[in-house]
């Protein structure tokens, strides 16, 4: 049971991360295609605020504050009772609301698969494609050193 709970949490977090990283336009498009519900009770927000971003001295030392970032959050409750949350960088309130609904739906065992396959999976695949492209473009700029042999021996 412990293990299952930890796995569920990891999957839920991964779904939230995918939503947070995706663009609002992509989420809206897939949302409409999948016909997911948008009638929910708004418990908080969507509202925009600041999160202070922290780094570590030297990369891995003591934490310090670097600067702020805009973050928009929302909390919603489904008619079936599940409460969903979203925190995402930026000021896109529509995205935060939909992502919070997605999080609530995800917690409903009857809807989880639908959310995963119709929404999260295509978003994740688009993010992965974009990351792989960027990775390959960066890899093409890798320096291949070669040695010039000079002299007779």
């Amino acid at each position: 049971m412990r293990g299952q709970e930890a796995r569920d949490q990891a999957e839920r977090k991964a779904a939230m991360a995918t939503l947070a990283q995706s663009s609002g336009d992509d989420i809206v498009r897939l949302w409409n295609e999948a016909g997911l519900p948008s009638q929910v009770e708004l418990l908080r927000g969507p509202e925009t605020g600041l999160v202070t971003l922290r780094g570590r001295i030297g990369g891995d030392g003591a934490p310090f504050n670097v600067g702020e970032a805009t973050v928009t959050r929302a909390t919603v409750r489904l008619p079936s009772g599940q409460v969903g949350h979203c925190y995402a960088l930026g000021r896109d309130k529509q995205k935060a609301k939909l992502a919070a609904i997605a999080d609530a739906l995800w917690q409903d065992p009857a809807r989880r698969t639908e959310v995963e396959t119709r929404l999260i999976a295509p978003l994740r695949s688009a993010l992965t494609t974009a990351q792989e492209k960027r990775h390959a473009e960066t890899a093409a700029t890798k320096v291949d050193f070669f040695t010039m042999v000079r002299g007779e021996d």
């Binding site: 949490q9 977090k13 605020g49 202070t52 030297g58 030392g61 973050v71 930026g90």
Partner: protein, 370 residues
């Protein structure tokens, strides 16, 4: 007696509508869209984010347009906007070791794990103006090389194996990171607070100070151990979730400067370090920050303080360009009463001076006048 003077309301209103007109410029030229600025003036956007101390590309782009491209004005606008928003909390510290790297170079090791990745750099360009760009020529897609993802440990971790470099900067166990947006600056300050101030500091000011250390004012023999640019994931602990909320990714630039150090009463000979971490792709700024961070550690390392770049109060008090521009630019606002008072004072001093210098002449003058 002090008489309050009002006026200029119509002039101010008209000046602002004139500003709006000049900002728009020739109406036959298409208006700039924010996405054009975000995409095509990306490094300018990054500078406004870093010195405005607010990570939000669209807002930075809006600020740049509103300020007609005046970067310090744009930074000022972003800083002012920040104050209107509530604070949700402090993120978990980002892990630059897990960065999705878009550029990574080291000047100290040729063959380091993960390799040298040049990324989208100005380095090795010829700095010749490109007429094709002016003509709006199409740009080819970049080449790709399919490779396995490779771990890219920070160079500092590689050097640490030999024990010849100091560890990452640590603070006492119970130390809470200071926040200059909450508490006023106090000197001397801890390194974490200094780094926060430097990260939002003016690029030009820090660049000049960093340059001064290279030219011999607080010389500290720097090498670029590593510069890495890329995206890192951001997370926030919130009470309503049983795990840290994932917020998305931000692009940052990190610079590890490695400095030779001959040792002092406080520390043995070793390599010491300066650290830079800045929003966006801001390589010059991250390097300048790292140079200044190292110079400002003089008293911690038992070095003599002989140069401006080592003077914490001097550097940190003057690194913020919003404060600096506010105080310099306020001089152009009406000071009529102050100046009248000074004018009166100078007239009296002059009269006294002249009376002292040559009383007879003054007397003559007075008589002539009569």
């Amino acid at each position: 007696m002090y008489v309050a003077v009002k006026g200029g309301e119509a002039a101010i209103a008209n000046a602002h509508s004139l500003l709006a007109d000049r900002r728009r410029g020739d109406r036959s030229v298409p208006a700039l869209r924010l996405d054009q600025i975000v995409e095509q003036l990306a490094l300018g956007v990054d500078r406004v984010m870093s010195e405005g101390s607010l990570y939000d590309r669209e807002l930075a782009a809006l600020a740049i347009v509103q300020a007609r491209g005046d970067m310090i004005e744009a930074i000022f606008l972003v800083r002012a906007y920040r104050t209107t928003l509530p604070r949700f909390g402090y993120s978990k510290p980002i892990d630059t070791g897990a960065m999705r790297v878009e550029r990574r170079v080291s000047a100290t090791y040729k063959d380091l794990p993960g390799g040298q990745l040049l990324g989208p750099t100005f380095d090795y360009t010829h700095r010749l103006l490109d007429p094709e760009l002016a003509a709006g020529a199409d740009v080819a897609e970049p080449l790709r090389r399919e490779t396995e993802a490779q771990a890219m440990p920070r160079v500092s971790a590689i050097l640490a194996h030999e024990g010849l470099i100091e560890p990452d900067g640590e603070m006492p166990q119970d130390h809470v990171p200071g926040d200059i947006t909450r508490e006023p600056l106090e000197f001397p300050m801890a390194r974490d607070i200094r780094l926060q101030a430097l990260s939002r500091g003016d690029e030009g000011f820090l660049l000049a100070l960093g340059y001064s250390t290279q030219r011999g004012y607080a010389r500290n023999h720097p090498f670029v151990g590593e510069i890495r640019i890329g995206e890192v994931e951001l997370e926030l602990d919130v009470p309503e979730l049983p795990f840290a909320a994932p917020l998305g990714t931000v692009r940052v630039t990190e610079c590890q400067m490695v400095n030779q150090f001959k040792g002092s009463a406080k520390a043995p000979p070793q390599f010491t370090r300066g650290y830079g971490l800045v929003f966006g792709q801001s390589e010059r700024k991250a390097m300048a920050m790292a140079l200044c961070d190292r110079a400002l550690r003089a008293s911690e390392l038992g070095e003599d303080i002989v140069a401006a770049a080592q003077d914490e109060e001097f550097v940190i008090s003057h690194s913020d360009n919003v404060q600096a521009t506010g105080f310099v630019e306020h001089l152009k606002l009406p000071h009529y009463v102050d100046f009248q008072a000074e004018l009166d004072l100078v007239r009296r001093m002059r009269a006294e001076y002249e009376a002292r210098e040559d009383p007879a002449k003054i007397e003559e003058k007075r008589e002539a006048a009569e």
